[in-house]
Symmetry: C2
Subunit: 330 residues, 2 copies
DNA sequence: ATGAAAGCGCTAACAT
DNA sequence: ATGTTAGCGCTTTCAT
């Protein structure tokens, strides 16, 4: 049906080897032949067959991104960065998203299938023993999770938690609570640790709420529930640092429904700096999501070229973004 | 390096054909042999080589989505729908996103490369003569754009514009403006037509603003500029229907910066119903983005199975979502 | 400078 | 029930 190098070879009266050479820009071809083959290929509308090329070259030109849940602005932002960087490379991008983090392994297995992608970007998925086995032999770059055996790009979550809490302390808030996640993934644990450290330095006691929202805790619903719990407390906190912006959005809803508002009744600081955060004036700790995705891809591409380099652990420093929701009490 | 069917064949003392049969579940294999081959394959940790399989089968198991710009919540939502449906199929998903709509053809060409994907989902990209040529022979489903030669999933934009405008009229607003896009793509033109129809029925005159934001008009910046222009008018409108939520967000910012607010000083209705719309209380015309993506994939998969069916043009009816930004003047 | 031929790893007739 | 073999479309030695 469609034109192959055999057709071109016949038409140009050369062998398929010569056609292949010309098409791949080998210098070992006579000028006249080269021109003729090019002309014929052009005229016949030749297009290389990606699959056949890949099989012969033993390389697919594909990288894949494995994402725990797409219904999450954090991942969406990272994905944008990934896509941008991939578009600037010679690779094409396969996207594997799970319905929730617990089902990520199925997608991961597909992404890792032999002869599929050359490398994979794995997001927010801790490398346990089973996964280490799966990943064995593949070129992998980790995002939002670190592991000594792989390149990784993470944010200093503990610092982020500290910055947020310190900011609330500085603004004079007295009873600063924290909303975390159950079950608590490592990033959340680290954010909480930063919160606790800041409080400890100030000689305050932590107050932690979290609702058990399986399978995915970084959600509006989880934030809503946790805030509801906080509001039911006999002595209501006057500020809260929340483990993610998504939860913070839910928490703000709960606040609003209770006839309260931030920062007047309770100051709120989130984490991530997703786009809505700016729109609603939510103070937050910013992760450079776009850049994380971009750099991870660049690293993956580099590693594909040089698999020997020792793994690097890139830790971004998050930055505090102060908006209306944590304004100092007047 | 990695184990092939030859290794298994040798180990199980059968031919590669038998191995292939067993692995593909052919019934024409003796029970004992089947069991033995399975055991060996398992033990050796065999994984089929996607590429080789694809080349032999002449089918890749890949579909691709071509997106004009990823920095846009509308496309993100559609992409989620696409991903959800793809995950339920036997296909894997390639994502090709352009930096802006004018550069979509490069990505489209990659997506269409012979031996890459079996079908492509093309978003918001009108099929002109050049593209028709490109798409010729490929299995394509169109989203947000219609063309008689292909399956397409679109929304009744004109109806949407009508609904929005009619709603504003009903709520008693007097001077209802419209913010469109320059250059004006077909969906925007249709939305404007709906707006004009509603106004004409009410015997009012249209008032249209739009800023020239190349290459992509459905943006916050564009909305901001257009609203600024409206505010500079001697007689300020008291309501506005805006061609997209993204622009509406920018318009709301402009309003706020001018010390004004919606709906008090000007009622605002957007289009799309992206997630932030709900958060900021923006009235809007909802497109079923997730479902559009999902159904488009299902259609693509169906067409891949039966290429003879005549193209279908699926037109969704948008729905009006009333929130605070267009509340009736008290 | 060019051609012949051996793969790449698998599927699918066609034989037996 | 199983094996032999010819592709799938291309790249890449190895000859000439």
């Amino acid at each position: 049906m469609s034109v192959t190098i055999y057709d071109i070879a016949a038409e140009a009266e050369v062998s398929i080897a010569t056609v292949s050479r010309v098409l791949n820009g080998s210098p070992r071809v006579a000028k006249a032949t080269r021109a003729r083959v090019h002309r014929v290929a052009e005229r016949m509308g030749y297009q290389p067959h990606a699959l056949a090329q890949s099989l012969a070259r033993q390389t697919t030109g594909l990288v894949s991104a494995v994402i725990p849940v797409l219904t999450n602005d954090f991942y969406m932002e990272v994905l944008r960065g990934i896509q941008d960087a991939v578009a600037q490379s010679d690779f094409d991008l396969l996207v594997y998203a799970a319905s929730d983090p617990e089902h990520v392994d199925g997608q991961l297995a597909r992404a890792l299938q032999r002869g599929r992608a050359e490398g994979v970007l794995l997001l927010s998925t801790p490398v346990d023993a089973a996964r280490r086995e799966l990943l064995n032999g593949s070129t992998v770059v980790l995002l939002d999770v670190a592991d000594a055996a792989f390149d990784s790009f993470t944010v200093d979550n503990s610092l982020g938690g500290y910055l947020a809490t310190h900011h609330l302390l500085e603004n004079g808030f007295q009873r600063i609570a924290h909303i975390s996640v159950v079950p608590e993934p490592l990033p959340a644990r680290e954010r909480r640790a930063g919160y606790e450290r800041a409080l400890a330095e100030a000689g305050r006691t932590p107050l932690i709420a979290a609702s058990d929202q399986r399978p995915y805790g970084f959600s509006e619903a989880a934030g809503y529930e946790a805030m509801t719990a906080l509001l039911a407390l006999p002595e209501r906190p006057d500020a809260v640092f929340i483990a993610s912006d998504a939860q913070a959005l839910g928490a703000l809803s709960a606040l609003r429904e209770a006839g309260l508002s931030a920062p007047h009744d309770m100051a709120v600081v989130g984490f991530d700096d997703i786009k809505v955060a700016e729109v609603v004036g939510l103070s937050t700790v910013r992760q450079p999501m776009h850049e994380m995705g971009r750099l991870a891809v660049e690293r993956l591409v580099a590693r594909l070229a040089d698999s020997q380099a020792p793994p690097i652990q890139h830790v971004f420093s998050p930055t505090l973004v102060v908006r209306a929701s944590s304004a100092r009490r007047v």
